[in-house]
Symmetry: C2
Subunit: 96 residues, 2 copies
C-alpha cells in the first residue's frame, strides 16, 4: 500500500460523505413533510413506537462492520436532527 492508495481511499470517503449528506438532507425533507401531515392532524410529532420500529428494521439489516449499538446511536442522532427540524417548523408556523 502506498500514499497513492491512501489518496484513492480518501477520495472514496469524500464521495461517500457527499452521498451521505445528500441522503441525510433528503431524509430531513421527508421528515418535514411528515411534520406537516401531523400538524394538520393535530397529532404528536414524536412517536416512540414508530422510532422503535425504524430502529428494529435498521438493526435487522445491519451486516457490520459497525456493531448494532454504534449504528443505533448514529440513527438516534439522525432522528433527533429531524425532530428538531420539525420543532423549528412548528414554531415558525405558530408565528405566521
Amino acid at each position: 500500500m502506498s500514499n497513492k492508495d491512501l489518496n484513492e481511499l480518501r477520495d472514496q470517503l469524500d464521495d461517500i460523505n457527499l452521498q451521505l449528506l445528500h441522503l441525510i438532507s433528503n431524509r430531513a425533507k421527508v421528515v418535514q413533510e411528515i411534520g406537516k401531515v401531523k400538524e394538520k392532524q393535530g397529532v404528536n410529532r414524536y412517536d416512540p413506537v414508530r422510532e422503535r420500529k425504524m430502529l428494529d428494521l435498521i438493526e435487522s439489516n445491519n451486516e457490520g462492520p459497525l456493531d448494532v449499538a454504534t449504528v443505533k446511536h448514529l440513527f438516534k442522532e439522525i432522528f433527533k436532527a429531524g425532530l428538531d427540524l420539525q420543532e423549528d417548523d412548528h414554531k415558525k408556523a405558530l408565528l405566521v
Copy 2:
C-alpha cells in the same frame, strides 16, 4: 393529506434509512482500509487536518434543510464511529 400519505412518507423514510445504513457501513469499511494502510506506515490514525477538510467539503455542499451545525454534528459522530472501529482493529492486530 391522509393516513395513506403518512404511510407512504414513512415507507420513504424506511427506504432512506436502509440506504443510509448501507452507506454508513460502506464508509466504515473504507475507514478500516485506511486504518490498515496507516498501520503499515506507522502513522497516527486520527488526523485533525484531514477531518477539517472533510467537514469543509461537507459544509460547502450543504443545501439544507438541516443547518450546517447540525450536519457537522452528525458527521462528527459518523467520523467517531469510524475511528473507534480503527481503534478496535488496532487492538485486535496487537493481540495476533
